[in-house]
Assembly symmetry: C2
Homo-oligomer: 430 residues x 2
């Protein structure tokens, strides 16, 4: 972790830059897989699963028995923890439900919005050694609350053709309709196009590697909505002189362990704190199983001494972090100044892992500076907001002239006529 002392504002731009990624050009591979899935459906999914996941599957769909068994292998302790997290995520996401609120904009003209769940949503859960069942909660729960009719999940099988029981158990717990053992580009292609066993969905959610990300871009280009653009995970911590360096080191490390391309940034007005945090990082890293990943991630990372807390916030707004931790006294004094961030953690006990798992907020957040353009996933991500209006006889008479004049100025005379005809017939009635 490199230390930068009181950089000039000219240097901020460079310091706020993300490390360049060696992005593979996957355009042609993605196009090939999509075409294959389009033409050969399930057969091509099985072919790619054999090729990439090294397993031949007769059935892509996880069956009842597998799902039932999953619960039996998990410890009661883990099942209870998942239930507690589920409750909190449900409570917070339920609070995002919009209540119908009819507004009379002009006498006789009433407008409102109603929310409808997106009918078919697809959730992608990456494979790997550890089962990301927390992401199943974060995407499955709001989908369920939004009343999405069909919630499917795709995740790559292991070499024995199985999904991890924690994924199966959690998916079943949150009401996911169907679980498919398919991963990578072929999973995204299947959900974008539809095959004999996997339905085409309206929107695709979930994290993934470069292949999945490239496939989601292609999905978007052919008209399927996606949650947000992807990028490596990141945290920015702002610490004042009273901050606890041990806690901060732990928070930075919990971000760094995500992957070699993770980035952590520490801003402080106090040089001693920076020094202490770096020492604590060294001490803590030794004991962590993923220390190899952490060491590489920390090479991309920076500790920056700033003149004031206001400067820290200003830099943070420039960087637009996915996660922002305010490890400072009276953090609520600074929240109004935060313009760009995915999720913000206030005070010394609000660690990022709380939000990652169980406090109730969503952990699917905009990274890579996308906090400037996008919100994290919420209940909103799973609904469409439809506007409604009811205009009475009185209403069209009050508003008619305005519409007629505007339509005429835009040279859309049929638009005008739709009003004129109504007003004239109302006048004839009198």
């Amino acid at each position: 972790m490199k230390i930068h002392k009181n950089p000039s504002k000219e240097q901020w731009q460079t310091l706020a830059k993300r490390p360049e990624l060696n992005a593979l050009d996957l355009t042609s591979l993605v196009a090939t897989v999509f075409t294959d899935v389009q033409n050969k459906g399930d057969d091509s999914l099985k072919k790619y699963t054999l090729e990439f996941d090294k397993v031949h599957l007769e059935n892509l769909l996880a069956n009842e028995e597998e799902i039932q068994n999953a619960g039996n292998v998990l410890s009661d302790e883990l099942k209870k923890a998942i239930q507690t997290a589920k409750n909190n995520i449900e409570i917070f996401h339920s609070s995002q439900k919009e209540i119908k609120n009819p507004i009379e904009t002009t006498e006789g003209v009433i407008c409102w919005r109603e929310n409808r769940g997106i009918e078919k949503v697809g959730i992608y859960i990456p494979g790997g050694s550890a089962p990301l069942f927390s992401t199943v909660l974060m995407l499955g729960i709001p989908a369920q609350l939004a009343d999405c009719k069909e919630i499917i999940l795709c995740s790559p099988p292991d070499k024995n053709g199985n999904l991890h029981p924690a994924i199966l158990y959690t998916a079943h717990l949150v009401g996911i309709t169907s679980i498919y053992k398919v991963g990578g580009i072929q999973a995204i292609a299947a959900m974008s196009i539809g095959t004999e066993s996997i339905p085409k969905v309206d929107k695709i959610f979930g994290p993934g590697n470069q292949y999945v990300t490239a496939a989601k871009k292609q999905a978007q280009n052919i008209g399927i909505a996606i949650d947000m653009p992807a990028g490596p995970s990141e945290v920015l911590v702002i610490a004042d002189k009273n901050a606890n360096s041990t806690y901060i080191a732990a928070d930075l490390l919990s971000q760094a362990e995500h992957g070699k391309d993770s980035q952590v940034i520490l801003l402080s007005t106090n040089y001693e704190i920076i020094e202490k945090v770096l020492i604590d990082i060294t001490i803590q890293t030794e004991k962590l199983p993923r220390s190899e990943i952490i060491v590489i991630a920390l090479e991309n990372s920076k500790a920056i001494l700033m003149n004031t807390l206001d400067e820290c916030i200003e830099f943070s707004n420039l960087y637009a972090p996915e996660h922002l931790i305010l490890a400072i006294d009276n953090p609520e004094k600074y929240t109004d100044k935060i313009q760009h961030a995915g999720s913000v953690f206030l005070g010394k006990y609000s660690c990022e892992s709380a939000g990652d798992y169980a406090s109730g907020t969503n952990h699917t957040l905009p990274t890579n500076g996308f906090a400037k353009n996008y919100s994290g996933v919420s209940l909103d991500s799973f609904v469409k907001k439809i506007t409604f209006q009811h205009i009475s006889e009185n209403g069209i008479q009050n508003l008619g002239k305005t519409i007629e004049i505007m339509a005429e100025a835009e040279e859309l005379l049929a638009h005008k006529n739709a009003v004129t005809i109504r007003i004239q017939s109302l006048e004839n009635k009198k």
Copy 2:
């Protein structure tokens, strides 16, 4: 307009299909313009403006004098109408403001959301003979209400290098920061990349032709958010036996006059109404200046006799219209069944042109079936919703165990450690 009588459900899929568009492959043109704008900035914008809009511009920015003069040329009647529409749009979009709502998910764990306006937004307004100042209202007003810091507008100049005064006047009225005389692919490229005079924005809004649409896709691929995918405008009207055929004909025509690729669909449970509407369409079309466009649009259009109103709604959900008019008795009895639509108009006086101009709802809506995946533009489109959390000593003690167990099961031990360290130090304090 072709009539289909009681089609079987097998035929619905075909009937609900949009007409195929002859899409140009603009990928290479778009790439060229983006590279040019990247390398040569304003100079390339001026070059393309000369090439496509046939005018050489010294300054791309509309100046104070032009903006001031615009108000002098418009009639007081039009200015008053614009003001009335502005008021209604403001009232309805203001009602979409979210109130901060802190939720205690677990004792000592408080989560909430705060909205922040997207800092820099770009609005594109197409050129052409008629000035689409209503779209300036629809995009400028929510941008202003959302507290976006920089709201810029691009629109192609006419042959004399001017923008229409109605666009200049409306843009100024709704507080747009800067107005640029540039259109087409080059305008979208400028807002995506930034030039000497035009700032790079975080999100681009607004309608456009195939060139603008292709450029917005490219903007999205390089990380700029866009409002939604584009497509030709459309309306679906459901009429029962008591519907007023003259009104319905006028509504269908007001959609058909948008462009040759517009589509209008009439569903009714009553054959007589269909016949009457078709006659009224013929009568009304004759008097309309855009009849040539209308006649072509009607060729893509269908009138379908259905067995029941429930079937009409079911078909409408399959089609997912941008605009849906329920010209039926007691329309509110059917609103719950509507799953996919951009904006819904209830009853005989709620004509689409009301929503297009002045009732208060937004007219930037998902077309081409995208009402299945996307909402129309609203205040939400201009904000990011940032989650916040504050966890107290008590809170982390209540939630800690849950986080530790879940992090361990995901093999993310640094995530676990961030909690363990805090809990241990709290226990040591006791």
